[in-house]
Assembly symmetry: C2
Homo-oligomer: 110 residues x 2
């Protein structure tokens, strides 16, 4: 036990859950926030923006990357990270659909 039973859910459910899970930590939201504020992608100073040690930040970046939310390129000795628009669009669509379905639904709920 302790393991999520992914086999029993649809690919779509699993993939949305994976994206949501990756965003389920304030440090990772802060990273996304930061990536949106910088024009250039050389993001070596994310560590300085966060109240966490470098290995911890590196780990959070890795999780965002594994989930497909950000991509990274080696840029000399620094690394350029940036948001993967497609994955954001994916999650955005998910919530847009829910919002639309809720508008259609019977309002006499709870």
């Amino acid at each position: 036990m302790g393991t999520t039973k992914t086999e029993h859910f649809t690919d779509r459910q699993n993939s949305i859950a994976t994206l949501a899970k990756a965003l389920g930590h304030p440090a990772r939201i802060a990273i996304i926030d930061y990536l949106l504020t910088v024009d250039s992608c050389i993001c070596g100073d994310i560590v300085n923006q966060l109240p966490l040690a470098q290995p911890t930040v590196s780990q959070h970046l890795k999780e965002l990357k594994n989930a497909g939310l950000i991509k990274g390129n080696i840029e000399g000795t620094a690394i350029c990270y940036c948001i993967d628009e497609a994955s954001i669009a994916n999650v955005h669509d998910f919530f847009t659909n829910i919002s639309n379905q809720l508008k259609i639904k019977n309002k006499s709920c709870c």
Copy 2:
């Protein structure tokens, strides 16, 4: 260690992360999916829709409720759960903002 350092992040970052985290499990995505398909709110059969035992489902429902994504009313011996539109709107707005900012941003990234 092992605990998230919430104190060091903004309220907005923490609250988005909380909502995202609650959606970070396929069973909870499946619950949201199901709540969208039923017209009536009497949702006692969520357990039958999921490949999980009743206590596990109850726990997932509790987490969605704690995060504010669903609300529940006692309806006789059954319980009526439904989606909280405001919280969905919250998360939806978050991704809409990101999408908009990405459109504005320099495309020459990574």
